[in-house]
Subunit: 362 residues, 2 copies
DNA sequence: GGCCGAAATGAATGCGCATACATTTGCCGC
DNA sequence: GCGGCAAATGTATGCGCATTCATTTCGGCC
């Protein structure tokens, strides 16, 4: 057994010594097994096993001039910025009456989980690792750690994106209004929303709609709003009859805004820019003593899990989250393979899920 | 401006040349600004700005002998293994009647998202990055990329964990039955479940219970089951009157199992090992035409978002997911700081959220 | 058996950074 | 104005690996 400092991870040198070959041979046995005699290869592999050798990704990255990792930048939320103090169990279990509160446990939309998994699987398929970062300030430190960066819409300022894009491939996720020269993958928000409106207006024949939009600075929201407007126009619905309010994509705010809107007058259908808003709208509707779908129809957008458990379950537009994450990584890989190709903008198709809050027929 | 190959990322050498100093000074200006004259520091910083220099994490890791990254290993699920083919939008939007299906959109529990964020925040607070991997085979390749690994319960075989633990700190998340010599962080499953039973039996005075457990090989489930049994014993409830069935922590299976159980006889309360199971139980209960909580009480465990949106909202035990992730990273940091300390096993406290499915009083 | 070319292997170098050690600069007091 | 010392800066080396180029080994063939 080769001598090496205990505690330190074994290196190629240890393996080489142990197998009685040079480090070059060890390296080759790993990277291009065919370029090495079967006999020596076996000796090397045996030594690797024996020592429990694992190549240092850092050294490899340095020599290769690529890190073998991609970064995924998720949006942060105010309450996410702070570390949460872990409370060790002291034996007591707090018991809380949580009836009526229905507070979202995390506060943050949990739907990034799916995107993350999609991205991770694709990255590893390609032999790369996935680094995750949550937006916080403008840290671009990750750019020194990865070969490419997938950025969620609004997770990074345009300026910061431009900075990073100068030194490595960047792909924008779910941000259709992105700079046209930067690759992007998104879902077909406009068509999704249009399909919903088509259903409500075209199929159900309802012309008395209201729209609960997202924040004014959200690109997603802008696109959905646009799809909404298009469909209305196509059906000759008077824009002036349409009432629209802006929320913040959050449930609480949506409930407040919806309440105002209902107090004014109850529309036959309330279309919401996302599921969280739709859940908020339901809160307000229930509070007003109205029934869904009898008195008012509600639709959401995103396909979050909770939407299917609401009462009634919310008609929504399901986004292919997993595929979105995978597509983002593929876009990075493609960009690395051909840095000179024109910018790619991939749009994934969505699916309308008709549920009780806005059924197939009335 | 210093000459450098275009396209290549600038290095310390470029910065040094541009600022008219040596690379050592550049390095110091970055790492320990105080050890450098304010004047030179400014020159260096200016050059860094000008060139858009970002240190190579790989080179730094090599020199430092630490990567500055932690790994988080999430459990994978069968359907996660495969990459999802992105479907480009062809203009058509599929419209599906999704009434009654209530299919979870992703299939996978989305609650890792919270843990991930907790871990990421804590890691970055410490100046480290977070690498995410999804279980798939036994790949320990990540061990060459990180300084420590946080492993979710069941995300890795015991043997593989032992392997990795030989070369770097490992902390187990939510796996209380873990090898005692490996650090772990978990939530107080036993006390949480016990508190629920205390409420049902002690406060509500119900003695006719059934338990819908998770998979037999789940450590989490074992612990919850144990807490359940303890509380029963404490209240002198006859174990033989208790009916228990094993599910798989999934909703569909739970619905099937619960249906069997109900067909046999309807208990006054059905306690479930997790929220997904409780949702499944609700499905079966509704299908059987029973009312919750009038005919039967239901409780879950985990505090997933959907539980709060169910009809009725499900009483559950909320786990501090975010804190759990943060605590895992802290444990790694502590272990790195003192490799010789005895194994630490941190248990975070949980909270019972009483909601309509099992209210504070009847 | 000896020669030649190809395959296998080894030696040496660089990737970008941190740092130990060497050198220079600056400052103080006399 | 100079010695002496501390602070500032520079030089050189190694981190672990991939890879180029040099060297050795092996086969085939005459």
């Amino acid at each position: 057994m080769a001598k090496r400092k205990v505690g330190a991870a074994p290196t190629v040198y240890d393996v080489a010594g142990s197998a009685g070959v040079s480090i070059a041979t060890v390296s080759r046995a790993i990277r291009s097994p065919d370029s090495v005699t079967p006999a020596t290869r076996e000796r090397v592999e045996e030594a690797i096993q024996r020592l429990g050798y694992v190549p240092s990704a850092s050294a490899r990255a340095l020599a290769d001039r690529r890190t073998g990792a991609y970064g995924l930048l998720l949006p942060g939320f105010d309450d996410i910025e702070d570390a949460v103090e872990p409370v060790p169990s002291d034996g007591a279990v707090r018991i809380t009456d949580d009836r009526g509160s229905r507070s979202p446990v995390g506060g943050a939309p949990l739907y990034f989980d799916e995107v993350l998994r999609g991205a991770e699987v694709e990255a590893w398929r390609h032999g790369s690792a996935l680094l995750v970062a949550v937006r916080r300030g403008q840290r671009q430190d990750i750019s020194g750690r990865v070969d490419g960066l997938a950025v969620f819409g609004r997770a990074m300022s345009e300026e910061a994106i431009g900075q990073v894009a100068r030194r490595m491939p960047v792909v924008l996720i779910a941000d259709e209004q992105a700079a046209p020269e930067i690759d992007s993958v998104s879902v077909d928000n406009a068509r999704g929303m249009r399909a919903v409106v088509e259903h409500v207006v075209g199929v159900l024949g309802i012309r008395d709609l209201a729209y609960l939009a997202g924040p004014k600075d959200s690109p997603d929201d802008a696109v959905r709003r646009h799809g909404f407007a298009e469909a209305l126009a196509a059906h000759g619905v008077d824009r002036r009859r349409l009432r629209m309010r802006h929320g913040d994509f959050g449930r609480a705010r949506a409930a407040a805004v919806a309440a105002e809107l209902l107090a004014e007058r109850v529309p036959r259908a309330l279309l919401c820019a996302n599921d969280q808003s739709a859940l908020g709208a339901l809160d307000a509707i229930h509070a007003a003593g109205l029934r869904v779908p009898e008195d008012i129809l509600v639709t959401g957008f995103d396909g979050i899990e909770a939407g299917g458990y609401a009462s009634p379950p919310i008609t929504t537009v399901r986004q292919p989250m997993r595929a979105l994450g995978g597509a983002a990584i593929r876009a990075l890989e493609a960009r690395i393979a051909d840095p000179t190709a024109p910018p790619q903008h991939l749009t994934l198709s969505v699916e309308v899920l008709l549920r009780e809050s806005c059924p197939p027929t009335l």
